[in-house]
């Protein structure tokens, strides 16, 4: 993909318009975008604004501009700077939700398999696998020094002898390390139906095709059991 001097990808005007229309048609749009007096309370209280060039006030203003060009400038990297803490929504005197607008735009980026979405979701592939295939979010075997450096200096120790440490937990556990809890096959099948209906599998297919294949193998196994 080609990028302009601001690092914004160059795409046809029709696509920009489509993105804008898609956001406008979202069922949450009316609730999230109201009047805006540019007071700056949202940005003043925004945690990422301390660290990045990211401003919820600008997000809302660009959305309200109804200018597809301006909205497109947020689609590559900008929308991913938000922490989704929703402080902005909590403190906006007009009851706008810039964080909500970000959620709508992110979902569009993910649904359409934009490069930025692929890049951002890559580190989460193990979580996506556990979640969609097994109905678990984190399991003991996911604790590995390479994956969670931000968990502190003891992550190396924490990742060794998992089976023994699991047994030491003074409450009933599965005594396995590849799952956090047991999910019955019937429940898994229901979960798969929900993921199918909600388009979750389709989204994974568009952002990470190889992960999708792994997940589908497991899904097929469970469904045919």
């Amino acid at each position: 993909m080609e990028y302009d001097e601001n690092g914004v990808s160059i795409v046809p005007a029709e696509l920009k318009k489509e993105i804008f229309e898609e956001a406008r048609k979202d069922f949450r749009y009316e609730e999230y975008v109201r009047g805006c007096l540019n007071c700056g309370v949202c940005t003043g209280g925004c945690p990422p604004h301390r660290f990045f060039d990211f401003s919820p006030r600008i997000v809302l203003q660009k959305m309200k501009s109804k200018d597809p060009e301006l909205i497109w400038t947020m689609m590559d990297e900008y929308v991913w700077a938000c922490f989704q803490c929703f402080t902005c929504a909590m403190i906006c005197p007009f009851l706008n939700s810039p964080g909500g607008v970000i959620a709508i735009l992110r979902e569009i980026a993910v649904r359409r398999g934009f490069e930025s979405a692929k890049k951002v979701l890559k580190p989460y592939s193990r979580v996506l696998l556990k979640l969609t295939a097994y109905g678990n979010q984190l399991s003991p075997d996911m604790i590995q020094p390479d994956f969670f450096p931000d968990w502190g200096p003891h992550i190396g120790y924490a990742s060794t002898d998992l089976a023994v440490k699991r047994k030491a937990i003074p409450m009933p556990t599965l005594q396995v390390t590849n799952l956090a809890w047991d999910v019955a096959p019937e429940t898994m099948k229901e979960l798969y139906d929900i993921f199918d209906e909600a388009g979750v599998f389709k989204i994974i297919e568009s952002v990470d095709p190889s992960l999708y294949e792994i997940i589908q193998d497991i899904v097929d196994d469970v469904r045919s059991s």
Binding site: L37, G40, G45
Partner: protein, 347 residues
């Protein structure tokens, strides 16, 4: 036989209505809930009034003096209208005071029950009542009135003060979407006053829009040009405590700096105006309409802003919405004229 007219509320609007009616020869009954006349300006000891910085006493004191010296104005202090009934075109009202209840018949009624200052403690982001050095405009007005302008935390004069506009106004979270109209001008006035008397103290005003409407704009320019008041566009998101006993204002300077955290010795919140608990009370007691903002509703907001929906009951002053003292005094006169006309017609 002269007319009998009831005026409820002894603030600027009610006082002027009573004085005008008394000059027309009407027997006026003035019911005041406090033990003194003058309303909020007196209660909170407003010192100087915008736009010309004249002493508040020149205005309020003058009206009180005229009221107290008129033979045909009967003032009931610490009192209320406890019962109200229509009697043909007239009205029967029970006035309850410390000396008992009295029933009187009136030809017409003027409601001038005024406003309440917004309580900034209701909006947690301003940390009012949490930090001693966060005060609001009425607190500052009282401090200035008592010649006691010091930091409440340590009794020392402040060196850097922030004024924050739109506290309790234009904010759906606190339920007040409207603009309180006068707080911008009051804050600018207070900043000028502060810079005049305490030139060593820096003044910052944080605003969303500066609404010094009409000629009040002169004060806004004066604050910038003659008194070096820093005027920053950005609403404050949070007030926290800072080092060296300071209070920190956190927000976005939407034009220049971007995000900021600035420590101050003192913060003054421009708390807005509300209909208070008296508006719904008087609305149900007298059977007149309340509007969606919590103030009393005029019959026609443009043609007859001083009339209620009930013939014979008139409205004056801030009970119908935020307004300046001069507007309240004007409305007091307009309501007096209308109440008098109604009384004479139905004699």
């Amino acid at each position: 036989m002269s007319e009998n007219i009831l005026v409820i509320g002894g603030g600027p609007a009610g006082l002027n209505a009573a004085v005008m009616l008394s000059e027309l020869g009407v027997n006026v009954t003035l019911v005041e809930r406090d033990s003194f006349l003058g309303g909020n300006p007196k209660k909170f000891k407003y010192k100087f009034l915008f736009p010309d910085m004249q002493p508040a006493d020149n205005v309020i004191g003058e009206l009180i003096k005229k009221t107290e010296s008129a033979d045909n104005i009967k003032v009931y202090y610490s009192s209320e209208v406890s019962d109200f009934k229509e009697n043909g075109k007239k009205f029967d009202a029970v006035i309850k005071s410390t000396s008992g209840s009295e029933t009187k018949t009136f030809d017409s009624v003027i409601v001038a029950t005024g406003f309440e200052h917004f309580d900034p403690a209701r909006d947690a982001k301003y940390s009012y009542q949490l930090f001693d050095d966060v005060i609001d405009i009425k607190d500052l007005e009282r401090m200035m009135g008592e010649n006691n302008f010091v930091r409440p935390s340590n009794g020392k004069p402040p060196k850097k003060v922030a004024f924050i506009l739109c506290v309790g106004s234009r904010d759906r979270h606190v339920g007040n979407q409207y603009c309180s109209r006068v707080c911008c001008t009051v804050s600018v006035k207070q900043a000028i006053e502060m810079r005049e008397h305490f030139p060593d103290c820096e003044a910052y005003i944080f605003y969303m829009d500066i609404r010094t409407y009409g000629f009040f704009e002169d004060l806004y320019w004066k604050a910038m040009e003659e008194h070096d008041v820093q005027i920053v566009k950005g609403r404050i998101a949070e007030i926290t405590s800072g080092p060296d006993n300071t209070v920190v204002c956190k927000g976005e300077d939407t034009l220049l700096r971007g995000p900021f955290e600035i420590p101050f010795d003192m913060v003054v919140l421009a708390s807005g105006m509300e209909g208070g608990s008296q508006s719904p009370e008087i609305s149900s007691k007298l059977g007149i309409e309340l509007d969606e903002h919590g103030f009393l509703k005029p019959e026609n907001v443009t043609l007859s802003p001083f009339k209620s929906n009930k013939p014979g009951v008139f409205l004056a002053g801030a009970c119908t919405g935020p307004k300046a003292i001069s507007d309240s005094i004007t409305e007091g006169a307009a309501a007096a004229m209308n109440a008098y006309t109604y009384a004479v017609k139905n004699r």
